[in-house]
Amino acid sequence: MGYFAGLIFVLAALWLGLSGIYKPLLLILAGISILISVVLASRLETVDREGSPYGRTIPILSYWAWLQVEIFKANWPVIKACVSANLNINPAFVRVKTRCESDLAKTIFANSITLTPGTVTVEVEGDKLLIHALFEEAATPASFDEMDHRSYRAADGKRKEELVA
């Protein structure tokens, strides 16, 4: 039930923010469209931990803030490689093992790697990720360790307690 409440709250906030006109007619239409969206989502059986992960908003937001800083730091070498006179890059494939268990945590980790300039996740198989890196020397398995740990904590931390509850 919490998943439905989270989904309805986010859809309502999105409507209110995007519309900006708060007449009764439009608010009724908003209610109807939110209802249709929720019914469709529940028929698709996507209203679960992955489709409505708003119970973990605070850990995911703090992870997001950390990720922004990492992305900005990772931008510099790629910008330099783009504009330098000779193409000073060293592309390579790297294999990385992840500790993330759930699909949500794996998706967050793989998408964070792809978002960070200089690394793109090519394939995910079980707990192993195939990563294409622009600079082989910068993409050691240890360099992904902190991101792995943090995305695990953001999506999976205290998960066992949640499953018990």
Binding site: L18, F72, N75, C82, V83, I89, N90, G118, V122
Partner: protein, 120 residues
Amino acid sequence: MPEVLDILLFVKPWVGGILCVIGALLALIGSIGVLRFPDFFTRPHAASITDTSAVTLGLLGMAILAPSWLVVFKLVAIWLFIFLTSPTGSHALANAAHTAGLQPVLGRDLRRPENREEEA
């Protein structure tokens, strides 16, 4: 504190405009990188500059220039959706190329791999 407010109102359009220009320059650099990088697997790296820092700085500049909070909300929504969708797109492209068996350019000397399509 009317003086401080005056200074803020004077500085605001300049800060927003400069952030927008920096974002546009980063998008340009990303496009140059897409054209310069040697093969399919390296090009998404250049595109990810446009996807991340250029978008962030550009939208931040627009948010500072925005006339109302509703516009800011929309810009934040755009920012979130770009950050959620762009890695999915890059991953789908790279995964498709890998699954199709495209050989990447590897190493510092950028050796050209022997792809079957080039031989044919």
